[in-house]
Symmetry: C2
Subunit: 240 residues, 2 copies
DNA sequence: ACAGTTGGCGGACTGTTGGTCCGTTTACCT
DNA sequence: AGGTAAACGGACCAACAGTCCGCCAACTGT
């Protein structure tokens, strides 16, 4: 595969360059990743032990664990690798994902493609989200979330982009897609359409007629005094 | 706790009555659930082995496993228990969640409360979603999803409620809330507001002025011929 | 009240697995 | 070529989910 070239863009991705690596180490890493990919595809992620990966890669367990830290690390590395192409696409690729397109269209294309990608690797994607340590996120999540945030902010600077971005990504997470596709046999297009709907709603009913007003709670008068703020980003820090 | 009384409502919940249970068995189950709850709260779900639960409950491992099948079963039972109250609330409780309220308000209240509940049990909720077998869902998911579907369909029968409901629940899943709250320290209200925004968007820009038109893809003209259908439910089965 | 039977109970036991350790080997630099 | 620091490998370990089966005590019918 081609070296991943992350272009500038105003996205300060904290891409940690791996420090120089000895020749055999690099070779072993490749072998391990390849072997893992094959085994995961064949027997499933859960059905593949680290021993098996090491054996298939003709490598000792020690090597395997030193390279990737632990099981989650291996899976994450694999996922990252699979996402590299996608990241290039929306950071520097051609329209409609690339930077030459209006933000709203890019974001829409992004969600479409994200759902498609997850679906294409459903089992693996699901296993990856489940395998990472509790509370942690797959490392690919960061860049994705950042992209969505930036797009949202560009579309409507008053949006609470930080939060909305996460919800949007949650709505199109592997678990959801799995449930819909595998358990319910629903067509991919319906999922993509629904994701678009969520997106359009949050960016002021589409861009054809911004009506100024945000989406206040339907029931502003309801029950206790809890609900109040609309979708707007809070003024600043709440606690000094 | 009071017997969970699920009233009629047009929700055909497949509530499997537990068949008669011997006295000691029931007592043991209670002890196990209590012990598990305590240990999970104290050491975390991941840090608690089945051995530990059995010991704390003063029960043999055999008993533990026969009752709950496996680790996932225990966690699921616990979660189910925690959700019982919530289910009663939106099935038969007082406004704004209960059946005497318009659907849009109920759904909004539902999301608010769901997020609040997840947050209140963050660690446990997260662990629960991760602990269930790959591809499976926590059993509490079913009733929740059904409720959202029914509400959505009532608000706008042309909506693809089946899919939108899942995305909405995915957007407010434990993983998302965890990420936002723990890792980013974001206030609960912002999450609830964002969830409301997603909801409002999908139900035609709020109920104050339905404009008839759906949310078509922003870029109907874009790229390849993939994207097409709006948020609407497809006519019927696609393959005869 | 009592004996029989069925289901529940307990905890020893097993197989698997993620992860560690350390003596040995090997790539890279001078 | 020689030295050094890093990588390698696979034996080893501890932990843990889940199973098995002999023992025991609730319910049932008389």
């Amino acid at each position: 595969m081609p070296e991943r070239h992350r272009p500038s863009l105003p996205l300060p991705l904290p891409l940690l360059e791996h420090p120089p690596e000895r020749g055999d180490a690099a070779a072993n890493r490749k072998r391990i990743l390849a072997a893992a990919r094959a085994l995961f595809a064949e027997r499933g992620v859960d059905g593949t032990s680290m021993d098996a990966v090491a054996a298939a890669a003709r490598v000792g367990k020690g090597t395997l664990f030193r390279r990737f830290g632990d099981r989650a690390g291996l899976i994450d590395a694999l996922l990252d690798d699979a996402m590299a192409e996608f990241q290039d696409a929306f950071l520097s690729g051609p329209p409609p994902l690339g930077p030459t397109t209006p933000a709203s269209v890019r974001l829409e294309a992004f969600l479409d493609e994200l759902v498609r990608l997850i679906d294409a690797q459903l089992d693996f994607a699901l296993a990856a989200t489940r395998a990472t340590a509790a509370g942690a996120q797959v490392s690919a999540h960061g860049p994705l979330a950042l992209f969505v945030r930036v797009m949202l902010a560009e579309i409507d600077p008053s949006l609470d982009d930080e939060v909305v971005a996460e919800l949007l990504l949650g709505a199109t997470s592997a678990g959801v897609v799995y449930q819909l596709r595998r358990d319910r046999g629903i067509e991919l297009e319906r999922i993509q359409a629904a994701a678009r709907a969520l997106l359009h709603g949050v960016i002021e009913s589409g861009d054809d007629g911004p009506r100024g007003a945000a989406h206040p709670p339907i029931a502003a008068r309801a029950s206790d005094g809890r609900r109040s703020a609309p979708v707007r980003r809070p003024p600043a820090a709440t606690k000094p």
